[in-house]
Symmetry: C2
Subunit: 312 residues, 2 copies
């Protein structure tokens, strides 16, 4: 089959890949896949993955459209038996750890990972289920109430989804970013947003919760500074390399810092079906698999939001 192959930090299109056939797993025909920042970082060699990348997808299985949770788990370890199966000690992760991913004509996943896509949701919308679920994980971890002062740092793909999901809580929401068009997109949905220089000049508010969605040290520093004592700092991005921080200030201000990863697919599907979030405006381009290299270049541009790959 046709697919993208990552090896020694080099990504290339191959047509000689075997279609996956895994005993006890579903072979899913990939319809559409999304390029995520993790994919860009994989390509830059930040993680040791070798194989087919890609973990955001909509596919077809037994005549139905499906999306799929990305962690394939053992159901037996301590984490699995304690309701933390996304942290399974023996997990493989679609297109990220030990398992070929979605940038190909077919992928394999355990059947129990798949969720059917309701007819009300277009395929272009459903490709956002995985990152939308990751955005919703924040609300699984931190209780956010109406009126809470919440800051989202970052106006990119993830920041947009995080902001839209947090806006549903009735919190007092502010997004700070660096890209006029992306900030305008948030403003068009009634979400208060501003550049970081506007933020630093004008905002004396001290936030109850700050969500870091940039994956860089300056974003993290801004989020930290913006918090009130006993505030909560959610780390929603991965970070290349180590980060240095003032640990004493975390102690003196009794800050809670919480890492946040995969989230609930069922709730993400429900929000899309109810049109409670709007993801179509985040799509900047769609390429065929044959043009995947151009798609990756596009996705890496500073002004880009979501770039999709049509795999079938």
């Amino acid at each position: 089959m046709k697919g993208l192959w990552l090896e020694h930090g080099e990504l290339r299109l191959r047509t000689d890949l075997p279609a996956p056939r895994q005993a006890g797993e579903a072979q899913v025909r990939v319809l559409l896949a999304g390029i995520c920042n993790t994919d860009l970082e994989l390509r830059r060699g930040y993680y040791p993955f070798e194989g087919i990348p890609g973990h955001e997808f909509v596919g077809e299985f037994e005549g139905r459209r499906v999306v799929g949770e990305i962690n394939a788990v053992c159901h037996q370890c301590d984490a699995c038996r304690n309701d933390r199966s996304s942290h399974c000690e023996r997990r493989t992760v679609l297109g990220i750890v030990g398992r070929n991913g979605a940038f190909a004509e077919y992928l394999a996943l355990p059947r129990s990972n798949l969720h059917p896509v309701p007819d009300e949701i277009t395929t272009e919308e459903a490709v956002f289920v995985e990152p939308l679920a990751a955005a919703l994980e924040i609300q699984e971890q931190v209780r956010i109430s109406a009126g809470d002062r919440v800051l989202v740092v970052g106006d990119g793909k993830l920041g947009q989804l995080v902001a839209q999901t947090l806006a549903l809580t009735g919190c007092s929401l502010t997004v700070v970013g660096r890209h006029a068009a992306k900030l305008a997109l948030l403003q068009s949905r009634g979400i208060r947003s501003m550049t970081d220089s506007q933020f630093n000049d004008g905002t004396s508010t001290r936030f109850d919760v700050a969500v870091e969605c940039t994956g860089n040290a300056s974003g993290l520093a801004l989020a930290r500074r913006a918090l009130r004592p006993r505030g909560v700092l959610v780390l929603k991005s991965t970070y290349a390399g180590d980060l240095t921080m003032n640990a004493s200030s975390l102690v003196v201000d009794e800050i809670t810092l919480i890492g946040s990863r995969c989230g609930p697919f069922s709730r993400a599907l429900q929000l899309l079906r109810d049109h409670a979030v709007e993801v179509a405006p985040l799509i900047h381009a769609t390429y065929g698999l044959d043009d995947a290299m151009r798609a990756f270049e596009h996705a890496a541009r500073r002004d880009a939001l979501k770039v999709l790959l049509r795999c079938a």
Copy 2:
């Protein structure tokens, strides 16, 4: 009056200090004061404080023995009005920030900061109320249930109090440290404790909660490694300088990191009155104010636990 004076990182005994007279505040005659690691760090110049250090004390006011909460607050700012007065934006902190402390014959604090010491508690025990309250703050922040696997890293003054208070929860407790005598003290109370090399060799358990009480980077790294995914890492010590950590691993494992500072005096007094904790064995020496320099040398020794100053 007589007292210790810290200026430009130099600590000396003075006899020419004015006794504090603050309108609306209590003038407390200091009976006994404890030397804390923060005092040692103040002396090393890690914080910009200038004046009389000392924040753990028992004193006498209007004929009664008292202990005192160390944050003097405004009662009006956002933090004070939202039940976080220990984070008051305009606070001074006894012997730490903008307010002379306890290593002198007299100190001043707002009357509302003082708590009477019940007769059942000796003065030597009551001097532990402040650090004991700080240890109890952990349980205000993190729900710890019977059977939870909890690790305390550090067998020093703070680690000992943290371990004793956590043992009361019925959790499955382990303490890791570097000093045979301090570990033996814990073992004598039935608390499982071991050296860090024993820990690294033999312990495959993954902990639900780890409390870092060493204030150094290797203690923090050990605590982090010991946690299961979605575990909670409590930072109970301050740290000199910045710390470097792998932020991606916090995200991937969805770790919660929480800074912890001052805690509830009333509950600390209750535990001492009920003999639920035992602090007397932690006292390694008591010096008069005239011998304060020797007391500081003693407190800085690796094998030392609590060193006290008799101020009256």
